[in-house]
Point group: C2
């Protein structure tokens, strides 16, 4: 096997240069501050977790986990999401703290990827978990906070698609009783938003024309609160009825928050159905084919860590938001370049200190510097203002020179 070239990075990872970092961190700061105003307190968990605990409990497919062995031969994973680690903390370090717990995070996460996929194997998530509250108010709170977070991040136009895993579970149990392969196949078509495949799969199932119509009709169950009424008519199965009732309560609370204009009910949207147990949602920004946030209720996770509790939450896909808001200018402080010779050293350094004290950026550069190119550039910058580092231009150049 040939060695990688010196400038190469592993598959699917990135360097972020200053301009991108400023924007990414601005999103991070604003979103975390927003979450804090909603009472969510930030926690940090380790990059490495045990495979047998957090790895297995996470919502990530096993083959997408980055695994390594520790010195005792125990399998570790690079965290693939934060929900399972936070469930571990809620059940251990925070076990004496009464529910509900409101926790936030900003973190890099990892997914092992295939070479051809062209996807990121390391990316950032900013999210919350609301643990210990099973109510529709709690679900609405995290949806409303997702909306506030997207706004804080600078995403102008977006829609939240709101669904519930219970609706399809109930409907499929009613219409495809005992046919778990067929149920799974239909769910996978919906998960992949492959509606043509969904229709074809239904046709191949040899159902009565009434049931066929009912299952295909699901594809129309996307819209405002009128969908709640329509969905109630589709399935009488108690699981589906409970799901719709809960979802309509969430919708009511979202109206009280005054944010329902950003939300569409989408009963074809089931999220990761092996993990979520109730409401699920995804946020879509204008012109972007993939979600910028996703979340939902996961009432079975905490019990895996020994402290059974209902829970709900979401994660923003922070890198994707950077792509959406990429063009947004970030206010930067005034930047001053101070060029000096040995005779003016103290004067120059004290001037820089004063500039920095008043929140300006001051860079000092001296004639003694070993890079004549930089020095020439700094000198000429006085007239053409062209001195820049990583696309950052100085607005003022002060030269303190004897000649």
């Amino acid at each position: 096997m040939s060695k990688p070239k010196v400038f190469e990075k592993p598959l699917g990872v990135k360097d972020y240069l200053p301009e991108a970092v400023t924007k990414l961190r601005n999103i991070e700061y604003r979103v975390l501050a927003c979450m804090e105003r909603w009472g969510y307190n930030q926690i940090l968990t380790p990059t490495l977790e045990y495979y047998d605990t957090v790895g297995v409990a996470s919502s990530t497919e096993d083959k997408k986990l980055f695994k390594l062995l520790d010195r005792k031969g125990q399998t570790l994973v690079l965290r693939s999401e934060l929900t399972a680690p936070i469930a571990r903390v809620a059940s251990s370090l925070l076990k004496e703290h009464a529910f509900p717990l409101r926790l936030s995070y900003h973190s890099n996460v990892f997914r092992a990827i295939e070479e051809e996929a062209g996807r990121d194997s390391e990316f950032y998530q900013t999210g919350v978990e609301l643990i210990g509250d099973a109510s529709s108010e709690a679900d609405a709170e995290v949806v409303a906070l997702a909306i506030a977070s997207l706004q804080a991040a600078g995403v102008g136009t977006f829609k939240i698609a709101l669904g519930h895993v219970g609706f399809l579970n109930g409907l499929f149990q009613e219409t495809l009783e005992g046919r778990s392969d067929a149920q799974l196949s239909l769910k996978e078509h919906l998960l992949g938003r492959d509606y043509v495949g969904y229709r074809e799969a239904i046709k191949s199932l040899a159902l009565t024309s009434e049931v066929e119509r009912e299952l295909i009709g699901v594809l129309r169950l996307r819209g405002g609160d009128e969908i709640c009424e329509q969905a109630r008519m589709v399935s009488q199965h108690p699981i589906a009825q409970d799901a719709i009732r809960h979802l309509c309560e969430v919708w009511d609370v979202l109206q009280a928050y005054g944010v329902s204009e950003h939300v569409v009910i989408d009963l074809t949207m089931i999220g990761d159905f092996s993990y979520y147990t109730g409401m699920t949602f995804e946020g879509y920004a204008a012109d972007l084919g993939f979600p910028v946030c996703s979340g939902g209720r996961y009432d079975n996770l905490l019990s895996q860590f020994g402290r059974p509790a209902p829970a709900t939450g979401f994660a923003l896909k922070t890198n994707r938001i950077l792509e959406v808001t990429g063009g947004e200018a970030v206010a930067t402080p005034k930047r001053v370049l101070i060029a000096y010779d040995a005779e003016h050293r103290e004067e120059a350094l004290q001037l820089a200190k004063a500039k920095r004290s008043s929140e300006e950026t001051a860079v000092v550069i001296t004639q003694l510097v070993s890079e004549p190119e930089a020095w020439t550039k700094a000198r000429s910058a006085k007239t053409d203002g062209s001195y820049e580092v990583c696309s950052i231009v100085y607005q003022e150049v002060i030269t303190l020179l004897a000649q």
Copy 2:
């Protein structure tokens, strides 16, 4: 091998609860803002790097690198420091940008540790690299910035020990010519600050009493600028003389910055001598036995990435600073708890919105919540103000209830 218990974490990693995160991130924000005012722009590099490039080039001992295999069988490492990754970026993505480059970072780094060591295998560093400037002004700039960064981080009392690898290299080449094992042994005693071992090693070398006196005399070369004069007398070797001349220039510039009161020259302090090529320094906070920052000049690293250039920099050990400044209170916004029943939902949610808009923290809690304990607690909080999550207490409780 027994499975880990559900609440267990891998060896040497930590969870940070909200109170610690607030303090850690405050240090991070303040230090990065300070570095920005000095013209250092933040970059982010990936957690995973190739072993053959960044892994080998890093200053970390091979056995302390966390290694894993990618799908093609290539060895990856979890980054152990940021200097080598930044050298890679300076030589690739930033290769069209003129020197000097001023770059900053805040990042977690990883070290594989032995079970008995009780050390962290993941911790945080906040640092800078100044690339493309060989001058003593550049070395002084990073030392002065380290001082400003420690002050920004809230470290009240500290000392920077300033040394130079060239002094001992020259002295040992002069006095122990050709005896590289003896030179290495003496350096390792000094690196471990084992002065007794250093003296004993000298005694065992069968040197003339004059040379013996000279080598033992090194241990007294710690103090202010008077050390420069004394050191010049110790060795006539050109490498040692150059080192002392450079160090004294750095000292002069630090005086012009007005920060030399925080600095002691310590010629026994050589840092990681296999990696640094010139000035080295370490910062010590009062009452703490280990350094809170370390840095130095590394002029041979960039050439390994195909863009030869002198460079200097430092990293704060951010977690240790958290330990030093642990007691410092962090200002938090006012926290309000709003308890409501179904009838007052809209009023409560709109009130919360208004509070959040004016930078207060507002948490809503409803009678409908599934945790009666939390509800009772919220109700009683009105009188005893005791509603708290993760040690965060609400300063105001507003109840909006029909009864």
